[in-house]
């Protein structure tokens, strides 16, 4: 199988050769970032792992920042799904359970660690911020729908999202207790009850 992509990038066809090559490069990027941290990503190692020519990586992502940013966004889009079943409590619990699984995966742990450490260059910081913006937008859409339906009083989405998600991060980074579904339910119940109760005052 050819491992090159067209010189003049064609419009990617889902399932086409260009898309498959891109997919392999993204997978390899996430794997290597997980292994070495964001600062340790090398194009030659990446090309070898993805089974493509190094030039295929350089041609499509001349800027390392763009590649890492795209891989991080892809990681965020795949891992932080917040459904809208019409039941806010259920959707938030599911979201927290998935967020925990994602942070607790080897790649997730490495990315968290990269985001926290001095490896964080300005370009990496921008990519991490982009991932966060994406998650915040997803949370905003779901919260707006809940407010519209009267499931939730109007709320500062940033505050609400951080209050919900931060215990996941802290439970996992401490490693003292697992972040189970029961904990996700408890966090969601306390936060929802607290937001509703304080809005009444």
């Amino acid at each position: 199988m050819a491992d090159t992509v067209p010189r003049r990038p064609a419009v990617p066809r889902p399932g086409g050769r260009t898309a498959r090559v891109r997919e392999r490069i993204m997978d390899a990027t996430v794997q290597l970032v997980g292994k070495h941290g964001l600062a340790g990503l090398r194009y030659d190692e990446l090309a070898e792992l993805a089974g493509v020519h190094k030039s295929s990586v350089y041609r499509n992502w001349p800027e390392r920042e763009t590649l890492v940013s795209e891989a991080l966004r892809r990681y965020a889009a795949e891992t932080a799904v917040l459904a809208d079943t019409g039941d806010l409590r259920r959707d938030l619990v599911e979201f927290l359970v998935e967020l925990a699984a994602c942070i607790d995966s080897p790649t997730g742990r490495a990315l968290q660690s990269a985001a926290h450490t001095g490896q964080q260059t300005p370009s990496v910081a921008r990519a991490v911020a982009a991932v966060f913006e994406q998650r915040l937008a997803i949370m905003r859409t779901r919260v707006d729908a809940a407010v519209e339906r009267g499931e939730l009083p109007p709320v500062d989405v940033y505050f609400f999202g951080e209050l919900l998600c931060s215990p996941v991060h802290l439970y996992l980074s401490r490693g003292v207790r697992p972040f189970t579904r029961a904990v996700a339910e408890q966090v969601t119940d306390v936060v929802l009850a607290g937001i509703r109760e304080t809005a009444r005052r």
Copy 2:
């Protein structure tokens, strides 16, 4: 001024020479851990900074783990004060504001970072765990008093503490918004209301 400590450790007198030397060594340990991370702590650099002979450090703390652990506990005891004024909400807000200042200090940031990164050796992990245990014990004492006075329903102290403290960590690590007193009040109000409300169900 002599920079040695007695060969046979005397009972430390507060304000005495032994206590002062110990104080300087602890300060220097926290400074250097802040600068190089926990794994980068070197006794020669430490002795120079503290203005003591290297042998003074080795004699009193033959195990690096004991030194780092003591410095970390001291840091925790100094920075995470949770008063009991009889007003739980006020005490918790004050605690969160101080926790934010402590995490946001150069030393605090470095310690957080060391706790999160691969620099974390088993001995460092034990010291970090000891700091956490100490904070949890402080939280338990305060929460028990509040439950006894009927200010709070019986609650899992670990869960309660993490729910309160984790937004501080996440706000500061993201760096998107500052963790202000207003946020501390909002977090405390929502968590207290949520805990009381869910306990009624």
